[in-house]
Symmetry: D4
Subunit: 240 residues, 8 copies
């Protein structure tokens, strides 16, 4: 810490702020789980909620130092975005998805997935899934606005869907789209419920329960609004 | 009461059993709401759960006396069925649907509906809907096994669906079928969630929430397993 | 896009903003389901929650171009309202209901419904139902402040209710009004629970469960606060 | 204990069974809260669920010895009923209500309540309320089958309701009746939700939430199927 | 309306605002249920949530005109308070309870209740109960800070509690206080759960369920934070 | 039908029973979705709950006739098992898993998965997953009794886990095992919550919510006790 | 296995039954986590639900062989009890608590706890806690029938409570007792909600939420009906 | 009060504000439960939510006057912090934990605990636990960032964990960490679920249910985000 102040990397005030802010952190503990990539092929992701900008930057720096890639910051607040961008210029911010990505430069696409979403309101979650998948080196076909109310529009996309190694289906409200898609194609289908809706949607619960109860066995589900998790599941599936 | 014992309609023992069983009933109170038919065009239905066979027969008799038709007994237990059949020979029992019907003899069909169900396990509820609708004088097209996992089978039924004045859609698990159907045809769609499923279906809750959250505005919903209610709604809709 | 910039319809900045905002949209995908009206007699509705003003305007324009009517925008935010009004002058904004309507000019009233609400706090939902019904060409009798605590006021409205082809009943708290109304008249009754209440109302859940559990079979229910859905159901019912 | 065996009150076998069954009970601990009547004017009630017949008889005897009256055993199982009747001949069993009552002989009626129930299936709970109230010396008017679907039947009972010092309203399904009744009369209204219903009734939850959310402030509620509690509340209210 | 503008009671602008705001209100419909006092001895209460200031003032005026007293406005927003105070100078605002009261001048105290609360955070609800009870002419003993964690403080209040005709117990968190109080005294106990707490309190659900499950039969419960309802129940109980 | 009776395939009594039992089935409708295998590579599965033995046999026969393999009957009742075994001798019944399997004879193993379960009580679900996976031609390593309470036993299994193309993790109670496993290996992890537990487990809800909330993004989840779905997901993943 | 058959420990039939029953168990995997005692000072407990008698006996034998003590089998079914008693004569069965215990012979009491229960219906859970604590070598004071409805009876037990190193409080319904007890004494208080109650108790949920929301910080809670867990927590606390 | 104004401790305005704000408080009632420390060894804690700054300061002063230590104010709002600091200079504010502490000067450390947290977002709750424990005189080892996704990091902390007299484990999301920790060490483990997470985490419910359902009997749980309660439980455990 002193060294970084000495070198001008941190001002004394910043250092003081740091010490004030994270009193429970041993200086060594800030090192995130940098070996996770070695074990699982996927690095630790920085989850923005409930972290201070200082904490977010510290974790990102530690991952950078350990040559982990991609570095992902999800559910980033405005202040976190500003802090990361200032400190790490190569960080790219995707506003709709609330996502910051630091990629390696030399990645080869290693597979192809489709990200299907039922309505325009589902786009932030769909984009989180698509961008994370791309950060992990997958090609992504984006298919939007194909809700079950207009079933012919789903059917029109079957050729694209059949080209995918894995399909992520993002839907709110009654969450019916994954069952329809999974009944049409043979590849793995990862369902993502969204919190789009009101009243009996109960913040995505209706879609979540519907997807878990799907009449097509083989559909798998992730948490509400969890585009990140769907993309990382797709990456595990496709890269084999 | 005494008169009925005197005339042999009741044995003294039956009368005693009666008095023992329904101590809180004034003899006049047993008269059900026989004027409901006059007000709403639909008579009071006898709901079997929690009633003794003696109570069920008493209400049925009172409705018979008031010339109400059809008389419907839903969720009938075996004992209730036996008691009603003994006392009222014209009562017809439908086992799969757990329903007893006493119809008028001279009804003219007054409209046409379709009852669509997603899976074989949904048949008891679908049959309740279909039989009640027929008891109210509607023609019924039954369409089975058209779950969203095989969407082409739904599409193949569009001509039949378009012929209907109202469509009842019965589905458990994720309850996605009503949205698909309502996106294909212009007539009213009444959705009936069923308790078919397990785990995250929570006894029909997943299907119920899904139907209430349908992405097709205009779908209306009744209670879980409530084929009766769907049929009576269809009757209100069609007979106008 | 370039053409529209060239023609001055969009400034280059607006075009850039657009591209920045909806990166996942192929330019063709923005076309909404314009054939839904042909299939179901009811066009796609624009649901405001979670959409940017740009997205809302884009969908509205696409529907306009396809000569779809009425065009409805529900749960519109202030920014969406401003954006739509600037771009589409014939759009009419109804503040209490949070609704924007673009109607066709030459519609003939095709039936009559009643919209009944239990309390003044239920008015925004009741108005959404009434305005949407009018946008679809129905005549609407509005009946307010007839909660079950003053049952004589419900009874006083029976003559008006009997004149309707369909009655929409809007109620929060215990949601008892639909059962009372449906016990008095023969036409279809569509129940709309509202989120009015607190504590054990659980944001409309009490009213919703009450309506689904109605002791009058034949009452049908839509989602909490879903005046739109009730009106579209009424339209499907009445226009036959 | 030895004394009771010596005196022939207990056989040695019964004593052994006792010792085997209630190893954790100090012999003194079995004395129930016999002073509760002195403090609250209402003795401890024996709640049958989860108790052995031996335990039930032991508590009843202890209350008898302490001259507490009435002694009430609710939710009695068949075995408990048999055990109590053998040991305590003055115990009266009410089958429909699942209740055993031991009254004092010389009670004067001290007030008048009405117990109103919405449907025949609600009778067991209504009877529990009525019988417990009578055991506490209240006169009870029983009014049955006055659900909100036939609102005129409620209105016809207003004269009887106005005569009461307190009204207990028992209703399942949507639980709307207490609001209607409380809007018609000035006396206290105690609402009892019942578990009658299925699906969205969730074992009485719909009725419970509805009653708690009543649009008539001043309605008070007890637990689902808790006729006992309603009657004891009425007794507290009326005897003042 | 024109008359009121002519007389200067309303400016033309106010009249226009009015017409704009409440288009669905027939001018006659604004009359609230002024006969409720005649039927139940308690006038309609104005519930502030979801109403505009204009609507609130209109209802208050209508009640004033009908000589109804007391007039109560609960859950009043700042804007509603301002609007009512400007228009009706005799209205008294109680900030902690979020309550406006317009009393009659000549009321005689007609009974005595106690309002007991478990913690300082429960005071707004307790005050709502106490002030409403006073508005209905009851004397109120306020007892605060007697949570079950310091049980001797409850016991120290028994003499005051025994003097009451009815006790209102207000408690959040585990909601245990009503059972303790009801086990000590013979008068009616009305339990009010509050939303004080976090996590497993689920906005008052823990306290609500606890009170409904009270081991003392005879405790009655109202909705979460419903001090108003408890006071009106107490008034019904005490005035007999 | 007549032809089959004529040929002796059905006795007249069986035919009559059939007609009595499935009145709503057109004879053609009984054909299940035999093309599903062509579309998705996985045939329709027969879900036993709520079906009569006759219905189950009819569907199995139709699938047999269409040369679909494997044929799976899950959650088979004793009566269904007896009926199927009598009619289709090549059906193999697995009692612990409640599963009937009819396999093709000439399947080549096409990949390898591991099925991990936390406790002995989870074995029925784990076996359903393992047997279904084997029916689809996968090799299965079964790993049992590796709950997180003895974390070293999980670690000891890492070499086996790393050999798998996909890992299914079956766990009840707190459902923590999938997160631990997914943090150790790179392949896809499908989590199956079980209903093992009591109280706060709420029939598997605790495990389900835990798995959906996993701190390892990329874990995917299926319904409670849904070993079948996990296996079919694994098959979709591995066969690519 | 063969060795055990050869030695007569198992008959060939038993061996076959075994192999048939636990096909997924490698013979080595049946070894339970015998090192848990070394790590935590508490051996693995056998949880009966969902296990076959054969599995239960196998685990018990493995623990016996490893000299683990005490061996506990909770929630034992009748068949499991019979099987264990036949095979392991030193096993003691406690019927009320549904518990089997195999203790070491030479244990010294190492501390003292109190187990307090609110009502007679809570005894099975209280006994499970007391017996398990005794199996771990603790002295146990049992205090029964001290519900909050009779608060003086709690106060009378303070001297006994103050003697304890840890108090376990078992209560159903509103679960208020732990807060009262913890407000009176300084030692650790472990709260055990029970499923005693009905309706709004929701199988122990009311008591559970109440205990978690206790107004006395420092109360800790275990799962519903989890007497076992409370005792093992007490053992961890006291033995230090 | 007058004395304090006279002495200048309060300005007349402050006194007026006081009287206005706490009208229901008898001046004596403001005395908090100062004897709680004598009974339980732990003083009453001031819970900030729902209290005005004036109320908070009043309670703190009363505790100061009674020589109670430590004085703790949890969930303090900014205004409360400002008010307390102005009036009581020795109060120390910990921002991350939302906690104010007034300690005695001469406390001796009396034991050692560890506070373990799974992720950086759990730090505010972990800090609340650690700071409260320190205020009660315990030494605290803080261990951070040891989620189950990187299980080796948990294992690396076993030596520190084994040194503790009690371990507090703070975790959100699936809440799996307490089971893992409790399976490794013999001392008491207090689990604290946090509201970190989204969707199926339901504000900490997933973690709470998971901890209550822990497969390691003996884990005890406190309310969501209740670091305070965990620390006070640890103090009760350790100080014996």
């Amino acid at each position: 810490m002193l060294a970084r102040v000495a070198s001008g990397e941190l001002t004394p005030d910043e250092a003081a702020a740091w010490l004030d802010e994270v009193p429970v952190l041993n200086r060594d503990d800030i090192e995130p789980d940098v070996e996770r990539e070695a074990r699982t092929g996927q690095p630790e992701v920085i989850y923005g909620l409930g972290k201070t900008p200082t904490q977010v930057v510290a974790v990102a720096r530690a991952l950078l130092r350990a040559d982990v890639r991609p570095i992902l910051l999800t559910r980033a607040t405005e202040e976190q975005v500003r802090a990361v961008r200032e400190e790490i210029p190569e960080a790219v911010h995707h506003e709709q998805a609330g996502l910051i990505v630091i990629r390696s430069s030399d990645q080869e696409p290693s597979g192809r997935i489709a990200v299907v979403s039922a309505g325009t309101s589902d786009l932030p979650v769909a984009e989180e899934a698509a961008l994370v998948a791309e950060a992990f080196g997958l090609r992504v076909d984006r298919i939007v606005d194909v809700g079950v109310a207009g079933i012919h529009r789903v059917l029109a996309q079957v050729p694209t869907l059949e080209r995918a190694d894995c399909v992520i289906v993002v839907a709110g409200m009654e969450g019916a789209l994954p069952s329809v898609v999974a009944g049409l194609i043979p590849c793995p289908v990862v369902a993502v419920p969204t919190s789009v809706g009101y009243g009996a949607s109960f913040g995505g619960l209706a879609a979540l329960l519907g997807m878990l109860s799907s009449c097509v066995p083989g559909v798998v589900t992730v948490n509400v609004d969890n585009g990140l998790g769907a993309a990382m599941a797709a990456h595990r599936i496709v890269r084999r």
